[in-house]
Symmetry: none
Amino acid sequence: MSAAIRIIASQGLGAATAAIAQEAGVSNGSLFTYFETKADLFNQLYLELKAETAAAALDGLPAGSDIRKQTFHMWSQWLRWATSYPEKRRTLAHLSVSDDITPESRQAGHQTMAGIAKLLERSRENGPMRDVPLGFVVALMNALADATIDFTINDPANAHKHSMTAFDALWRMLA
Amino acid sequence: MSAAIRIIASQGLGAATAAIAQEAGVSNGSLFTYFETKADLFNQLYLELKAETAAAALDGLPAGSDIRKQTFHMWSQWLRWATSYPEKRRTLAHLSVSDDITPESRQAGHQTMAGIAKLLERSRENGPMRDVPLGFVVALMNALADATIDFTINDPANAHKHSMTAFDALWRMLA
Amino acid sequence: MSAAIRIIASQGLGAATAAIAQEAGVSNGSLFTYFETKADLFNQLYLELKAETAAAALDGLPAGSDIRKQTFHMWSQWLRWATSYPEKRRTLAHLSVSDDITPESRQAGHQTMAGIAKLLERSRENGPMRDVPLGFVVALMNALADATIDFTINDPANAHKHSMTAFDALWRMLA
Amino acid sequence: MSAAIRIIASQGLGAATAAIAQEAGVSNGSLFTYFETKADLFNQLYLELKAETAAAALDGLPAGSDIRKQTFHMWSQWLRWATSYPEKRRTLAHLSVSDDITPESRQAGHQTMAGIAKLLERSRENGPMRDVPLGFVVALMNALADATIDFTINDPANAHKHSMTAFDALWRMLA
DNA sequence: CATGAATGAGGCTTCATTCAT
DNA sequence: CATGAATGAAGCCTCATTCAT
């Protein structure tokens, strides 16, 4: 899996399965002992990375703090994770737009973000987006996070500043 | 070109050049009379669609109105275009993440959005994002627009409502 | 024709007919007004170059001189021509090994060298090769000439010396 | 490899890789398991045939005999090999003029003939070509051998006679 | 007679997947 | 369970040749 992350990050989804196997130090045939199909590998990888993203974002959540602090913590963790593991983030970005990811996987991927969604639910509950479908709110936050990460990757020196800027913007949207 | 849009929208960038040629009603070889390379076709298509998006967004801009109205007009037009031509939008989305699009094309694509950027510039000039790099602001708006379009495509009945919801959110971010 | 020489010399027989047409300053289609086929062009070119080689070799032949002087003159002229027009010589070399050259063309090409063969006939008439089939003698001389030209092209500074060396060797063979 | 020899001998270097694979009884894809590229196959084949030629020419060299006898042995063996394996000879002839053969391969091919060059070195050491660059002498001998082989292939009944004739000529050149 | 767009067969190469060892 | 050679379908692109203008 980690071999796949490295290869996909650098070569994209068109990377040969043989290249992934080689990076993993196994024979090309062995890869298919663990994954029925290249698409199967993609789906498993997608779920793993989704889960890791979510776990990272929620890691060490200050349960006692107010909702803004909690959400900001989540936001910061997320961005830190994405910029700390650019290959994972890049690979996940590739996978997210692939036709090989099944609707089931996407569905499961969204489940993974339930914890994050819950934070948003509380964040917006008294704000102007209180009546907007939660899925839409999540999608908008996701989009802001992705854009911020992309921008930060090209200007890592100001990672913290960009993170704050975008979070403030998010909060104005929500609350 | 329009054949390519249809095919790429339905089959993705992995579509065979032969399929595009067939859809266009010409022989596979003929395609290479017009485009040196599959990647060349992608780049030209990317620029065309980028330009069309921008043109649609700025079409009929009410020059005399206040900045919020102008920006809202732009936003509405953009979303209308994207939902009216889902294939173009889908194809542009595919192209935007392709490794075949050269940095030059991306650069040119950004130029295309100069008019939109100018509106944002004025929108945020007295707001909380007044000191944020304009490129970042553009990226955030772009992300919101894309997410809104995606959401709308799955729920077209509420297109207008989603558009307003997202615009209000954008405006809270900016002004 | 001269365009074909330049193109074939630099790109080999695999050169596209379109490239030849372009070099000649005509449209690709026009080429086929003059030559039925690419192979037809090759055959005509082959004959032209063969004829030019022979003509060059026999140009200014000192009819009154003894046979050694005449043969040496022919030899020198041949080598001078080949090194003066390396593209023609290179193209002829390519054509000579092509499967597109018909047996008829080869036959005709040999006819072209009748004058040279006649010189050889007289050169060897009292020598050790007096009973060898003339075709064989011609082939051997041809081989020596080609090898000398190749060697000279890589060391043009000593063109004259190599020419003399090889002619002396030829003469020892023949007379 | 032997399949390639047969196919190239009959169809030239333009032969499809698929044809070679079929002749070898493997799938077209398999060919590329063994050779990265068609050009790679050509280069390996070139080296193999060059080596085989040289080995055949020097096989059973009568080390104790005088230099003329040794050289004649080499010459005879060479011609015997070439006329015994006309396909190999034809293929090598094709390859020798191909642009796909790298300078490295040509260099290596020349190395292969070091043993033959050594014989020539000794053959000419007291003769009229004693001061000629050895590379030139080798080239001339090569040319004579090739021409003799070509002539012999069209008149195999007199193979021995042609071989003797040409060797005598060679010897007059050298010694 | 010139033009150059159109044709479509054919070539080289890649790669996911299989399977005998 | 690991291996890695074998498979063959599929894709991109080239190019000699044709033909309507």
